[in-house]
């Protein structure tokens, strides 16, 4: 093993010179292939950002949702809640305005685009998006049923001509409050809030190239359609039917974030016209996705700033512009190949590509910084360009390979997920990590050969060097004065949080730039003086974090992913407080029997389930609605409004005719509730916003209730199916899925990394020992979240292994290098000192660049990203502390020899210090 490691190190040492020998050839080849990749990216990229794409179309929850959509259309709608600024949604002014808005939304073709802004948030308004509006319901067009003599009338709650007199308006309000089915759905009990329900066709619109099968050539009606005898005495004729006939299944256009956003933007333009009268709180998928889109745009800005910070730090730390340019080129090439090959293979990518970019960026930077840090330090020691190049690759190559393999193992574990985009993400990321390794070995030496900083004593010192020199010549007082001015300016310009962030970056950079060598050479002595104290401190940290981790809850709450006070969060809170809950869910009832829903026992079971849910889960469910409500309502009204008849009749014929009436009066309402053959229907539930964990519990309980309530009906309906579905259930299933796949991925990654460490370090003892500093950063991130009571949402969970992978890379560099040194020198003390000196700088630099870069993400408005930025950055810095303090302490205390025979285990720092 030792020989293999040495041989590998030697091979890496020779790699740069071999590559340089065929420089022209290699470079030309890389440029040609890269150009092909870029061309592929531009021409072949298929980006699918829909939530549907996350689940296999064959997945049971997806099939259930598609089944629902085929039957009942889209369940995506905008619930536009508004607060009347005059305090009464039934005032004449409010009614007039909302009537106008309802008309605007329904008959938008008649609007003049000149009355509206051309764009909102940089997105041009497209009125054609309003084609997605399927139905608009508001106070001003909903109807209530009323008996008048022998005639049942379905009248408007608010007449078309809105009355002037206070008495008439009061009468409308009083009548509205009596309509239990509308209360909370369309207006709050105190009449301060009301809602416009905008139903869309998102997810239920047949795909663009949908071609009805009957359009095929030579398709004719079966003879039985005409084959009846005109004047026969037979009472009827039967159309023939053939159950083997092929029924075309319609596929639906999937919706992406942009589609929702464009729709919401134009809707917003329409309703904002009434903002003098109302304050609006839109909830539902379109506004939520618009918010997400905003967040994505903000992420782009943050990404650019992040690259700037990377650039600046690299420049200051290495004091050479080549140290900035070449890593960027290397990373860009890695990214182009990864993305390019993926699209050339015809794979559809999702928005998760941004995470792949992030990972490749981080890994690429770490790889390059390690090589360059070594190269620069050899140059400073006076070696010439070629020797320095060879030595630096010999020193870091092996470790880069090991980190590549471990990171790859971590992300490959994601491919066990059931969610296709996560599988693609896992494979692509694994490939990207390999690409970063490949380009660091093959491209970086050529680039450094093309342009590299001269010898340190040369006159062409970089700008950073010159500025640094002049700064150092200043008096201490002047320095302090300038520093104070600088920090005041930073805080004044950027505010408290960003100001603090910049201050921390500045101070850390200053300390590292000026005293890195002193710090690195002093570290072993600090540890050597009190290794047990160091171990004790880290042990305490470990225990506290492990405890914290036991407290962590995995939970995704849509609105809690946004900052307190953000518009979307306020909207959801308002809707939950004043109206029926902002979320909805459906329970599909499929009897698989024509006219099955006329059955009184089935209808009673539906009614029973609703009242059970409403009474037992009042803290989660606000209201339920189903065919049973319609039957009961109509029954009462048709029975002279006698409340005794507010029930499901015992008689099948009665139910049939009540529903017949309903169908004739409100065919759209009927179609939205029950299938044409009355075999399937659904119960809709309005629920409060909550986290996925609570929902999952709730879903399980509901399933039990369903089983209990429908238990007696198996005889009559052997094929009866009753199940939960809706976009909501789908999202929660996704959250569940991601949580599971992440958990297993995490365990798998730790296992693989342990095995690799054991193999590389040549001993079980060493490998397991190396795992401790590897696990601590991860524990710290999760542990802190647990202790602070912050839920681990699916997004954070998804990125956590990446961050941990990046955090442990430095540890691997440290341990690998130490082991190689131990083999070379045979002395623990000597190996430790050289390791800290040689690797320490690179570890410090990567930590600063990545740690501070990721910390920037904490400023994201999207808490899923912010949490990961903050805790990820914390993990990266803790990993540095582990490398510099914990590992040396463990080595001093436990004296592992990593299988090196006859190693000198004496600790000689104190003597040296003395």
């Amino acid at each position: 093993m030792e020989r293999i490691l040495i041989a590998l190190s030697d091979a890496f040492a020779q790699a740069p010179n071999r590559v340089l020998r065929y420089k022209q050839f290699v470079l030309t080849g890389l440029i040609v292939i890269s150009a092909m990749m870029v061309w592929g990216i531009y021409t072949r990229t298929e980006l699918d950002m829909t939530t549907d794409s996350f689940l296999d179309q064959e997945d049971p929850s997806m099939m259930a949702l598609n089944e629902y959509r085929r039957q009942f259309g889209s369940d995506d709608s905008v619930f536009l809640v508004y607060r009347a600024k005059d305090g009464d949604v039934f005032s004449r002014e409010s009614l007039l305005a909302i009537q106008q808005l309802t008309d605007d939304l329904r008959y938008w073709q008649q609007l003049d685009p000149a009355d509206y802004p051309e764009s909102i948030n940089g997105i041009a308004l497209d009125f054609d998006e309003l084609n997605h509006v399927r139905r608009v319901q508001s106070i001003t067009n909903i109807r209530y049923q009323e008996n008048e003599g022998d005639t049942l009338l379905s009248n408007r709650l608010v007449p078309q001509q809105i009355p002037q007199s206070a008495e008439e308006l009061a009468a409308i309000k009083a009548r509205a409050m009596e309509q239990e089915d509308y209360l909370l759905a369309f207006y709050s009990a105190d009449a301060r809030y009301a809602a416009v329900m905008i139903q869309t066709d998102f997810g239920a619109q047949p795909i663009a190239n949908y071609e009805p099968a009957v359009n095929a050539a030579d398709i004719v009606l079966d003879d039985s359609f005409v084959d009846f005898d005109a004047f026969s005495d037979a009472d009827s004729f039967d159309l023939e039917f053939d159950e083997s006939a092929e029924i075309q299944e319609v596929s639906f256009e999937s919706v992406d974030m942009l589609g929702y956003t464009n729709f919401h933007i134009i809707t917003k333009a329409l309703y904002e016209k009434y903002s003098d009268q109302f304050e609006f709180f839109p909830v539902g998928n379109p506004p939520m996705m618009e918010f997400m889109m905003d967040t994505l745009n903000q992420m782009m800005t943050l990404g650019i700033v992040m690259v700037l910070i990377f650039t600046l730090l690299l420049y200051i730390l290495f004091r050479s512009f080549s140290a900035v340019l070449w890593p960027m080129v290397t990373i860009a090439a890695s990214m182009a190949w990864t993305w390019g090959i993926t699209v050339w293979l015809g794979v559809t990518i999702s928005q998760m590509i941004s995470l792949t970019v992030l990972l490749v960026f981080a890994v690429g930077i770490a790889d390059c910084v390690h090589v360059m840090s070594a190269y620069f330090s050899y140059r400073r020691q006076g070696e010439d360009h070629y020797d320095a190049l060879s030595h630096s690759y010999g020193k870091t190559g092996l470790a880069i390979m090991v980190t590549t393999v471990t990171t790859m193992a971590g992300v490959l574990a994601l491919t066990t997920s059931d969610l296709l985009p996560i599988q693609v993400f896992g494979l692509m990321s694994a490939f990207g990590v390999v690409m970063a390794f490949f380009f660091t070995i093959v491209l970086l030496p050529i680039l450094l050969d093309v342009w590299h900083p001269g010898a340190p004593e040369a006159q062409d010192a970089s700008l950073a060097d010159r500025i640094g020199k002049r700064w150092n010549e200043l008096y201490i007082g002047k320095k302090a004065g300038l520093a104070v001015v600088y920090f005041i300016a930073v805080y004044a310009l950027l505010g408290l949080w960003v100001g603090t962030y910049i201050t921390v970056i500045s101070l850390m950079t200053y300390v590292v730039v000026n005293w890195q060598l002193q710090i690195l050479s002093y570290v072993p002595y600090i540890v050597a003086r009190r290794p047990w104290v160091v171990l004790g401190l880290f042990g305490t940290l470990f225990v506290v974090c492990a405890y914290g981790m036991s407290l962590i809850r995995i939970d995704s709450n849509m609105t809690e992913l946004t900052k307190e006070g953000s518009s979307i969060r306020v909207a959801y809170e308002t809707v939950d407080e004043n109206m029926a809950g902002a979320m909805s869910m459906v329970i599909m009832v499929d009897t698989h029997t024509t006219d099955g829903l006329y059955n009184p026992r089935l209808m009673q079971a539906i009614d029973e389930l609703q009242s059970r849910i409403e009474s037992r889960y009042a803290d989660q469910v606000t209201r339920t609605n189903s065919l049973a409500n319609i039957v009961k309502d109509t029954y009462q009204i048709m029975s002279d409004d006698d409340p005794a008849y507010y029930r499901v009749p015992e008689d099948e014929q009665m139910i049939s005719q009540l529903l017949y009436l309903f169908n004739s009066a409100n065919p759209e309402d009927r179609r939205a509730l029950v299938s044409d053959d009355y075999s399937r229907s659904h119960i809709s539930l309005n629920i409060y916003n909550a986290g996925s964990y609570q929902y999952q519990l709730f879903f399980d309980e509901i399933s039990v209730e369903i089983d209990e309530v429908f238990a007696g009906l198996e005889q009559e309906f052997p094929e009866l199916e009753v199940y939960l579905t809706g976009s909501m259930a789908l999202l929660m299933r996704m959250a569940d899925e991601v949580a599971n796949s992440q958990y297993s991925s995490f365990i798998f990654a730790i296992g693989v990394i342990s095995v690799i460490m054991i193999v590389t370090l040549g001993s079980l003892q060493g490998g397991l020992m190396a795992m401790i500093p590897n696990v601590i950063p991860a524990l710290l991130g999760f542990g802190l979240m647990g202790l602070l009571g912050i839920a681990l949402d699916t997004d954070t969970l998804l990125i956590a292994p990446l961050i941990i992978g990046i955090a442990v890379d430095d540890t691997i560099h440290f341990m690998t290098h130490y082991r190689v040194e131990l083999i070379r020198t045979g002395s623990i003390s000597e190996s430790l000192i050289t390791t800290i000196r040689d690797v320490g700088q690179a570890v410090m630099f990567t930590t600063m660049v990545l740690g501070l870069g990721f910390a920037l993400l904490s400023f994201s408005d999207y808490l899923g990203m912010a949490k990961m930025g903050f805790f990820g950055s914390a993990a990266i810095f803790v990993a540095l502390l582990c490398d510099l303090f914990l590992i040396p302490a463990m080595i001093m205390v436990f004296k592992p020899t990593f299988g090196v025979k006859g190693a000198d285990t004496r600790i000689t720092f104190m003597e040296k210090l003395a």
């Binding site: 005639t151 949908y210 009805p212 039917f241 006939a245 075309q248 004739s664 065919p667």
Partner: protein, 296 residues
């Protein structure tokens, strides 16, 4: 010769002329008016027995066929035309089958005048109550109601109000071996509020002035429904399709309306075409018996 017969003769005459010379001079509106005239003739002073069959459909050996046992409704209807040009129609339809809906009735008035909205009343036998479905206010945005729970809506079956459409002859072609005009009907802003279709394309038989096929389009200009007319026969001097099949191309369900019996030139009391027929069972049965006797 009553007004209706005059129209039919005129129609046949014009159509013959059209075949001899050129019917190009007829505008889309004129053609559609003749078509509706024809349609109204089949319901004027008529006593018909119809069967509505609804099923999910599929394709088997290039034939459109039900893929499940169809739900069947058997209906009796009585109709009569009113108004200056006989362009307003009143009709009563009563369910015979299935048993659960036996006695359920529908009374509808269709007016040609764009200022008057069509009216529909429903009678539920299990409750003994009448309900007016479409409200009388013409400002109202009443949705087209489903005809007896089938794929047909009142919008598909009602006649009149052609002024509310922009009508255009697209081309002359053939459909099912017959020479046809392809005529596009686009509702105006007023009509669009009440319609589920952004446009319809009608294939009108040049000789017989009946619609052989109608394609209905949604707001994205996708065809969502298609009507196929078959078994065209001359009944009491009027061409009519005795089998109408409405296919919903998105849900893949169809409804077939088959006219099993057609009796025209029947004496129908005006009183019969009122809500009294729906609620007064004795009255209804007496009147129906009278009608049945005329037929036999």
């Amino acid at each position: 010769m009553n007004l209706r017969s005059l129209f039919i003769v005129t129609a046949v005459f014009i159509s013959l002329l059209g075949n001899l010379a050129s019917a190009q001079e007829m505008t889309g509106l004129e053609i559609m008016e003749l078509v509706e005239e024809n349609q109204r003739a089949t319901s004027d002073s008529a006593f018909n027995r119809m069967q509505l069959s609804t099923c999910r459909f599929g394709i088997k050996e290039s034939r459109i066929t039900c893929a499940e046992r169809p739900r069947i409704k058997s209906l009796e209807s009585v109709g009569k035309n009113f108004g200056d040009d006989g362009k307003d129609t009143k009709s009563v339809t009563i369910v015979l089958e299935p048993a659960a809906e036996r006695g359920v009735g529908m009374l509808s008035y269709a007016y040609d005048d764009t200022q008057r909205d069509n009216e529909t009343w429903l009678y539920l036998s299990a409750l003994g109550r009448v309900k007016r479905i479409a409200s009388g206010n013409s400002d109202d945005d009443s949705e087209p109601a489903s005809v007896f729970g089938s794929e047909f809506t009142t919008e598909d079956t009602d006649t009149g109000k052609l002024e509310e459409y922009e009508i255009r002859v697209l081309e002359e072609t053939t459909e099912g071996g017959r020479e046809v005009w392809k005529i596009e009907l686009i509702p105006n802003a007023e009509r669009a509020r009440k319609s589920r279709y952004s446009k319809t394309i009608n294939y009108v038989d040049k000789e017989r002035f009946i619609v052989l096929r109608v394609e209905m389009f949604d707001q994205y200009d996708n065809e969502i429904k298609r009507l196929l007319a078959s078994r065209v026969e001359l009944v009491n001097g009027t061409w009519m399709a005795r089998s109408l099949t409405m296919m919903n191309l998105v849900s893949n369900r169809l409804s077939n309306m088959a006219f099993l019996e057609i009796h025209t030139d029947i004496a129908v009391e005006d009183e019969f075409l009122t809500t009294r027929t729906l609620t007064d069972v004795a009255f209804r049965e007496t009147e129906l018996e009278k009608l049945r006797q005329q037929v036999d």
